[in-house]
């Protein structure tokens, strides 16, 4: 394997990287904070992600860098979790592993019950289903972008998304709940509903 050479124009490279960093840092940090055990761990993930990006800047797509960065962050996070699991008896929890323990001070008992049921159903899904759902719902990615993060084709991601939603509903139904039964209105989400696959 050959050694890689320095690019001749270091200044251009640095300017370009700085622009990339400033444009994407908050999204990458948000992605990591949603999934890491602590803010400190999230910042480690972000640092590692951008170190990889800086080292391998030629590999970062110029037109759509965010999915590439999130895919890298996902791998770093996964390694972080596995490393932690080996060092300690327990595993760093996925943040929503404990999501059923919602704030009991809510003034809407029915809404609380629904949230608990929904969180329990969500926690029962495997990691891939949860990641598939949250890349869309939390990180606001399109199907095309999320497919890059999950390293699959857009069509495959669409299928995964459909199946993850179906499994989430099935989990909810298994515990005797249905979506939208709470007294508190659920969702007037007028987001961009485009789910382009490729």
């Amino acid at each position: 394997m050959r050694q890689r050479r320095d690019l001749p124009n270091r200044a251009d490279r640095q300017r370009s990287f700085e622009a990339l960093f400033r444009a994407t840092h908050s999204r990458v940090l948000a992605y990591a904070r949603r999934r890491a055990a602590s803010r400190e761990c999230a910042e480690e993930v972000v640092s590692e992600t951008y170190m990889v990006a800086w080292r391998r800047y030629e590999a970062v797509p110029g037109d759509e860098p965010l999915p590439w960065l999130l895919a890298t962050a996902r791998r770093v996070l996964s390694n972080q979790r596995r490393g932690a699991a080996r060092r300690a008896a327990g595993q760093i929890p996925y943040p929503l592993d404990g999501a059923a323990a919602v704030d009991p001070s809510t003034p809407h008992p029915e809404a609380l019950a629904e949230r608990q049921a929904f969180a329990a159903a969500f926690a029962a899904l495997d990691e891939r289903d949860r990641e598939t759902l949250t890349l869309i719902a939390w990180d606001g990615l399109t199907v095309t972008e999320a497919a890059v993060v999950m390293e699959c084709t857009g069509a495959a991601f669409s299928v995964r998304l459909h199946r993850a939603r179906r499994r989430l509903l099935a989990e909810l139904a298994r515990t005797g709940h249905r979506l939208g039964e709470a007294s508190e209105p659920v969702g007037n989400g007028a987001r961009d509903e485009r789910t382009e696959a490729r």
């Binding site: 050479r5 640095q14 700085e18 080996r86 759902l133 069509a155 495959a156």
Partner: protein, 362 residues
């Protein structure tokens, strides 16, 4: 998106942990992090010690353990990531050996025509999933690129009118509230001016084209190393076979403006030695052009799919890289579902300046 999916997504958004965590003060200063990262040489060791020491602080030992774990995992991925369909034993495909001879006679860029011109047409399939149903449409685009050796140039992308995969898809789209899809993009022209800098002389992993071996066997070994090394960024660990990943890598290098005739010839011969690559015989691409194809099959994307590269055996010009789904995924409509996606290489040549009419090579 149907109402049930909207409810699901809204319920998920209400569980977004970031909304509850908030932005507590005292976190890492992004500008400080940026300054630390760029203060290191881009080609330094993977964990430059001064930066690591400053970033890691008192938690250095824990991070070192994490780094060791990371290295271990990468090693496991490299070993266990041997995916479906890989076969033992190298062989050479005669059809690629013949094309290699044609490739060696390719023209190169000159001083009077320093910009390589490449015109491609991408025919993709977009699918929206709503309420257990899906509707599909095709929204092709034409891309023209003029790129010089220093990376400067121009890219023009022209969105083409889209069309439904079938009348049923259109009805499903209407029933879902007719969300804006390709119609908003149709006819749109995007221009991107490329400043000098990110030279096409370098592959995505940072390897200069000039560093690639020209001996076909050595090059085949290099290709295999690239697609099995997670650090190389050529898809290792993504579940696809070495053969499928090699098609993507070789297609990319062959379409590089600065790949020399000698390198192109070696690439064809090397690809013929990658285990799992099959001669698919004479085919026609989606433009109707006759060519020969090599490729490999994989079900890693969720449906059995043939990934192939079609080229003109007389000129060695790549005509298309193509994905053909053999069996539509169960969640997608079987009838009328577009099964083939491709990037068609329509014209290749050289031009005097960005946007200038090119002198075509074929």
């Amino acid at each position: 998106m149907n109402p049930r999916d909207s409810l699901l997504d809204e319920a998920l958004r209400r569980m977004d942990p970031l909304a509850e965590i908030g932005d507590a003060p005292g976190g890492q200063d992004p500008e400080e992090l940026l300054a630390l990262i760029v203060s290191t040489g881009p080609r330094q060791a993977r964990r430059p010690a001064p930066l690591a020491a400053r970033l890691w602080g008192p938690r250095g030992r824990r991070r070192l353990l994490a780094a060791a774990a990371l290295a271990g995992i990468l090693a496991i991925v490299a070993l266990a990531g041997k995916p479906e369909g890989d076969e033992e034993g190298a062989h050479t495909l005669p059809v690629l050996a013949r094309v290699a001879e044609a490739a060696a006679a390719q023209p190169t860029l000159g001083e009077d025509l320093p910009y390589l011109f490449l015109k491609t047409r991408t025919i993709g399939v977009s699918t929206a999933v709503t309420g257990g149903q899906a509707f599909s449409y095709s929204a092709p685009s034409i891309r023209e690129a003029w790129i010089a050796e220093d990376g400067s140039g121009l890219i023009r992308i022209h969105e083409q009118p889209g069309r439904w995969a079938s009348p049923k898809d259109r009805k499903l789209w209407e029933a879902s509230g007719a969300p804006t899809l390709f119609s908003a993009e149709s006819g749109k022209m995007t221009k991107v001016e490329l400043p000098p800098g990110r030279s096409p002389n370098f592959l995505p992993g940072g390897t200069p084209l000039s560093d690639l071996p020209l001996d076909p066997s050595e090059l085949a070994a290099w290709i295999e190393a690239q697609v099995t090394d997670p650090a190389a960024g050529a898809g290792a660990g993504n579940g696809f076979s070495v053969a499928v990943r090699s098609i993507a890598l070789v297609s990319e290098i062959l379409s590089n403006p600065l790949a020399s005739p000698e390198l192109r010839a070696a690439l064809f011969e090397a690809e013929g030695q990658i285990p799992g690559i099959r001669d698919l015989g004479e085919v026609r691409d989606q433009q109707g052009r006759r060519g020969v194809a090599v490729g490999a099959e994989s079900a890693n994307s969720g449906a059995p799919t043939v990934y192939s590269m079609i080229f003109d055996p007389k000129t060695s010009m790549v005509l298309a890289s193509q994905e053909e789904i053999l069996e539509a995924p169960s969640a997608l409509p079987d009838e009328g579902y577009p099964r083939t996606e491709s990037t068609l290489y329509l014209q290749v040549g050289a031009a005097s300046s960005p946007g200038a009419r090119p002198r075509l090579w074929h």
